[in-house]
């Protein structure tokens, strides 16, 4: 059993109080809205993609600390990366949060993002951590709105 306090201490102290890349992009090329209808997390993600590179990224919205910290760290991570590399991170993060990717033994590019590995032991919070990544995926696919329920349910998919 993960001590959720430990998880909180690591991720929220910094990113929840001082989220990176918080706000809107005036020159966004992609914009997507992510919704966690069951718990009310609601974020907007702006991307500026030039060629194949995510030049800048910003998010805003109302969400719990896990979602906000995940979004903040995500933006810091994907800024300057290629769309393909960002999409690979989306897959790896989703795998880590749902338990299909073992960060200790499976090769991955998650780096500091592995602080979220503990959410797999908090089933009710998995979607909070995944929502920003889900929204990033939707944004690069030019989908306007994405929800963690229904066809896109990450928890059902991984079950």
């Amino acid at each position: 059993m993960t001590d959720s306090k430990q998880l909180y201490q690591e991720v929220i102290l910094d990113h929840n109080r001082k989220p990176r890349n918080y706000g809107k992009l005036a020159d966004a090329t992609h914009r997507s809205e992510g919704l966690n209808p069951l718990c009310g997390d609601h974020i907007w993600l702006d991307l500026k993609v030039a060629g194949d590179v995510i030049e800048s990224v910003a998010f805003e919205g109302q969400s719990c600390a896990i979602c906000k910290a995940s979004a903040s760290m995500m933006t810091a991570n994907v800024k300057g990366k290629s769309v393909a590399d960002a999409e690979r991170l989306v897959e790896e993060f989703r795998g880590m949060a749902t338990g299909s990717l073992d960060v200790a033994n499976d090769a991955n590019h998650l780096g500091r993002l592995t602080v979220f590995a503990g959410v797999k032991d908090l089933p009710s919070r998995v979607k909070c951590a995944i929502l920003p990544w889900h929204t990033l995926h939707a944004a690069v696919q030019s989908q306007a709105v994405v929800s963690t329920e229904g066809d896109n349910d990450p928890v059902v998919q991984s079950a």
């Binding site: 909180y8 929220i12 719990c64 896990i66 909070c128």
Partner: protein
């Protein structure tokens, strides 16, 4: 010393022996979330089951089970008798005039859908209006919206004030000759507000309109007498009153039930079937198509007997004490806001810890062994009314101790410290 410390756990003033009743609930002693004693404050979502109800389930499955209303063999007769006895136990519990006015459903959602379908399709037409309140659970909104969409009818919503209390005058003003039905909650699941249902029923009847009461959050907290209330329909669910899931109740006045269309077609709800014509069975069977949740109905009968043995007046008094103490202690915490401060409330407290999302509060309280509900409580319009996405909710049952309020408060302080 701050104000919160000054509030000491009061000595229980009533003669209500919480420990004696807690001993009836094995789960309260069996479960230790994160190694801590379970402080179960999520009774509004689902309550726990006492040993006599568990025993009744086991006895049914080990000695009495067969399908009902069919077999001529001993077991079928035993099961039928037990099932129909449960109906009479519910009749007594609600003080319904006749046992045929009690229909077993699967939950309150099912009961409301039954009425929306059975009454709605028989009596609601284009341009007609249905009144609900701003306090409703989604279960008492969506079926009516679906009906309105289908029939071209209109939903009217009675407003609440900033305390979460219904504005009775505004409710009355919604009535017009187009009003055909009213469906309102007895107790708000999100805020705990107790609606003035007696007056609301009188007002509806003054306008010649039948009214349904959603009692999902009421029957476990206070005595309910459907004849004294004179409501046309009343619904409650088993698992919130110490019974099993999968069983709900709809009380309806016989005169209405007889005029209504059946909800589901199938076995048991018919008198005769040919390919040309089916003759429906009498009430309540007309509304109980297919094999019902027999074991659950019988166990629910035992559950309502159980609360009546304790006494709903005594339960209400103890819970009032819990509510008053919890309200005082939470109010004394800086940075905690209570949503729902109506003068008449059941033992439900929705609260918001400043700058901390309720889901984080819930996850961290769980570390202390405290189970609360977080989210919009299937009452998004209530959340919108107060401009918040969600709250944390502590909902009490008679088996909760005053000391458990202290554990909750201490847990909230730890959350605040972590987020400071």
């Amino acid at each position: 010393m701050n104000a919160a410390n000054a509030l000491k756990t009061p000595e229980p003033t009533s003669a209500f022996d919480v420990e004696r009743y807690r001993a009836d609930f094995p789960i309260l002693a069996n479960v230790h979330p994160h190694g801590k004693p379970l402080v179960y404050l999520d009774n509004g979502a689902s309550s726990q089951m006492p040993q006599p109800v568990i025993d009744r389930l086991v006895r049914y499955q080990t000695h009495e089970h067969a399908n009902i209303h069919r077999g001529v063999h001993t077991l079928s007769e035993t099961a039928t008798k037990a099932y129909e006895n449960a109906r009479r136990q519910i009749q007594g519990f609600l003080n319904a005039k006749e046992d045929r006015e009690i229909i077993f459903t699967s939950n309150v959602t099912d009961s409301i859908n039954l009425v929306a379908h059975g009454f709605g399709r028989a009596f609601i037409g284009e341009g007609d209006e249905i009144i609900i309140t701003h306090l409703e659970h989604h279960a008492n909104i969506v079926p009516w919206q679906m009906l309105c969409e289908e029939r071209g009818a209109k939903l009217r919503v009675a407003p609440i004030d900033d305390s979460g209390a219904l504005i009775l005058e505004a409710y009355e003003k919604l009535f017009s000759p187009r009003t055909k039905f009213v469906s309102v909650t007895h107790v708000s699941n999100a805020l705990g507000t107790i609606n003035p249902v007696r007056q609301m029923i009188d007002i509806a009847h003054r306008h010649g309109v039948p009214i349904m009461i959603d009692g999902a959050q009421a029957v476990q907290h206070m005595p309910v007498d459907v004849q004294a209330l004179d409501c046309d329909f009343y619904a409650f669910t088993g698992h919130k009153i110490f019974g099993p899931t999968g069983i709900g109740v709809l009380y309806g006045k016989a005169e209405w039930l007889e005029k209504m269309k059946p909800f589901r077609g199938g076995g048991d709800m018919i008198l005769s079937v040919t390919f040309e014509k089916t003759t429906y069975n009498a009430i309540p069977f007309k509304f109980e198509a297919g094999t019902p949740p027999i074991a659950q109905a019988i166990a629910l009968g035992e559950a309502v007997e159980y609360v009546q043995r304790i006494g709903l007046d005594r339960i209400a008094a103890h819970e009032h004490e819990l509510l008053a103490y919890a309200t005082d202690r939470l109010k004394a915490l800086d940075g905690v806001r209570i949503y729902g401060t109506a003068p008449h409330k059941a033992a439900v407290i929705s609260f918001y810890v400043n700058d901390v999302h309720p889901h984080d509060v819930g996850t961290l309280l769980n570390e202390e062994g405290v189970a609360v509900r977080t989210g919009h409580h299937c009452a998004q319009p209530v959340m919108q009314r107060f401009g918040i996405p969600a709250t944390a909710r502590a909902s009490f049952a008679f088996y909760n101790r005053l000391e458990e309020v202290d554990v909750l408060v201490e847990g909230i302080r730890k959350v605040q410290k972590l987020f400071a």
